[in-house]
Symmetry: C2
Subunit: 427 residues, 2 copies
């Protein structure tokens, strides 16, 4: 089965917004056992939208289009698709009333523009939008006049075309409430799909492959697929299989990889390091305090993204200035004078100070040079000291992360949480 995503929006082509729909929709679909075969994004122009839809109709059994359903003059997807398929637009009274009520609830008059959002192509289903004015639309293109049977991997002559509004909080519930039931009804799975991702740290992509490939040979012959995805210092290993034995094959592969890579596996599937750390702390009934200089709240932000973090995280300090390091963490003036704010000694005092100030079991402290300014020959931009304090005492690691500012913060936050994870797992 071919599923294609089509995002429309000239702002995407200008790089003004980050497209998060593709990841969200792909992940949701993959969890349900459906794999997207192509993602396409085009500007809001008639030629581009119509040729992209026509081509996608040539290949796909299901097209999920997003964006272009708003009230402004660059929201043209609805009209262009209706035109391409030779369908008239009709004004849907129920939709119009919904839009009017939304404005009335906020005591605003409905701008005339918004009326276009109540136009529905002939034969299309309206997908209610409780979170916005634009309804979604779903239509079965049957027969599909653009279908390219020469290249297709199946022979369906019909294609479902779903149009969802662009804002994530409108799109996401609409996908769950309408698209998921549609998928299950129109495209029931022939065989289950199983996928498991093992997330590793501290080992290069090619070395991961070298270590696990031969031991997985037999399973690969039985249908196991192995994929790799590398980021700085991390490699995800994706194990997947289809069919009745899929679950057994993936499970057997997981056991083999776990035996080989051990504690270098930090998490599974979508688990981020902060989720793992909050889970480990919760299981062990331990708490964590933070003292952040160069990461500037980035670690606290990640930890507090995890539901339930409040049970293990009493709080943290963002001590950007020397004064705040002294006042709140008890870093000594002599230490700052002798070693500088970016030093092993200061990281050590920050970690110990945060731990005692917040009465936590563990404390992480980071002090470094995020750049672009502030580097020296001995401590160039990218230098960072990460301290970890606990019952065992305080340890400090020096790292070098010579990346631009945001990547520096992200990589450093990751390393700090990984340092705590290894300590929690291995002690």
């Amino acid at each position: 089965m071919n599923i294609e995503l089509l995002n429309t929006g000239s702002e995407l082509m200008l790089g003004r917004v980050l497209n998060t729909h593709q990841q969200w929709l792909c992940r949701r679909l993959a969890d349900l056992g459906y794999v997207v075969t192509r993602q396409i994004a085009v500007p809001d122009t008639a030629h581009d939208i119509q040729s992209a839809v026509r081509e996608a109709l040539g290949r796909a059994d299901l097209i999920i289009a997003t964006g272009g359903l708003g009230p402004t003059s660059d929201d043209v997807t609805r009209d262009l698709i209706a035109q391409l398929l030779g369908k008239k637009l009709r004004l849907d009274d129920a939709v119009l009333n919904h839009i009017k009520r939304r404005f009335a609830a906020r005591r605003l008059p409905m701008p005339k523009n918004n009326e276009v959002q109540a136009l529905v192509p002939e034969g299309a289903m309206v997908l209610a939008n409780p979170n916005g004015t634009a309804p979604g639309l779903a239509m079965e293109v049957s027969p599909n006049p653009f279908r390219n049977f020469g290249d297709s991997q199946n022979s369906r002559s019909k294609t479902w075309l779903v149009m969802l509004p662009g804002p994530p909080r409108e799109l996401r519930p609409m996908f769950d409430n309408f698209v998921v039931p549609l998928l299950r009804r129109e495209f029931p799975l022939a065989a289950p799909f199983v996928c498991r991702t093992l997330r590793t740290s501290g080992i290069a992509e090619s070395l991961v492959q070298e270590k696990i490939e031969v031991p997985l040979n037999t399973l690969a012959a039985a249908g196991l697929e192995i994929g790799y995805c590398a980021r700085t210092g991390r490699v995800d290993v994706r194990l997947s299989a289809r069919g009745g034995n899929g679950k057994k094959i993936v499970r057997a592969a997981e056991v083999i990889v776990q035996k080989i890579l051990g504690a270098q596996i930090y998490g599974f599937d979508d688990e981020e390091i902060e989720v793992v750390v909050v889970r480990l702390l919760t299981e062990r009934k331990k708490t964590l305090a933070l003292a952040e200089s160069c990461t500037g709240g980035g670690i606290a932000h990640r930890v507090t993204n995890v539901p339930g973090a409040s049970a293990v995280f009493p709080g943290g300090f963002v001590t950007y200035s020397n004064g705040s390091k002294q006042k709140f963490l008890g870093v000594r003036a002599e230490t700052l004078a002798a070693h500088g704010a970016v030093s092993e000694a200061v990281a050590r005092e920050m970690a110990a100070g945060a731990r005692s100030q917040l009465g936590a079991d563990f404390a992480i402290a980071v002090t470094g040079i995020a750049g672009p300014g502030g580097g020296t020959k001995e401590k160039p931009v990218g230098t960072v000291f990460i301290g970890l304090a606990g019952e065992f005492g305080t340890v400090v690691e020096r790292k070098f992360n010579p990346y631009e500012r945001e990547t520096f913060k992200e990589v450093t936050a990751w390393q700090a949480l990984e340092m705590l994870r290894v300590r929690l797992v291995c002690s």
Copy 2:
């Protein structure tokens, strides 16, 4: 000129990673006056990659492909493109030596796998990669056997095909060092392209359009293009034009929109609210302290993403527990008992406490219920109080952001910074 981006990676189709290349490349290209006409992403399978490349060759003058140049078995882009174009692969000794040296520098043996990264299609240029093992590749497909002259908007019979490695810190410098000069040489601009984005807050998309459309009519007739991009509580207005008068047209449009929307414009182009706030604080020589409960460091993280933040941001507190609110911010036990941690009174004391503790000119405090748990009938999940303290005293606003946890944090952080921006601009 048609430019297409092609990202390969099965992990993209499974939603395991967020694709940030498209935004980065599109923005860089737009800044240079080139607009991408299509973004495509496909899985790492021969059929999908080859058909996507073949189709892109039908339409595009320049194709920038990313990913699939690594050393593992799912890195197949190089081979598949060479095969499609009927080019042999040769082992490039200089590339092989570069890869060997990189491993030697880290005192590691080169895994046999990495040798494939030194394979170069006949006639392709090698783009050096100082930040990784995979070199980039650039080749002119001339004549382009797949070109679809029927649909194309120009008649070039040649297409440049550039392949860049997937990791951002390898891709980005390679784009700047090799692709930009290639663009300037092979595709010089006929007419300058000018684009300006005005970022507004607190006004609905359809209302923005209603207010500015008629006053911009004359300029639109002269070639001005207007685009809108809405997010929660914010609308970007994009003004663009091409040609010799483009700069004048866009400038005139900007003046008109500024007159109409005034202080509802919070920033320009890619300026995020935190960049604006740090700039305003810097100009006014003022400092900001933070006291975050429900945003959990998210505001500090945004502020410290801005280079130069250290001059205006001495530090902040992440006070997740009641105890830390009392101990570090001086929130009174009676206030917590009488009103609860999520209350106007606590937000007020947190803001005032952070301001005095850090000796800052301003302090922002937030306390709310991020969810998923913790809501009550009077204070449902999404309720938040934002306090702003300054020389003028302390003000508190109550907001309701009933979104999932991460969106709640993001929207709340945004509102808090916007509250400070309005105070800085209007006082």
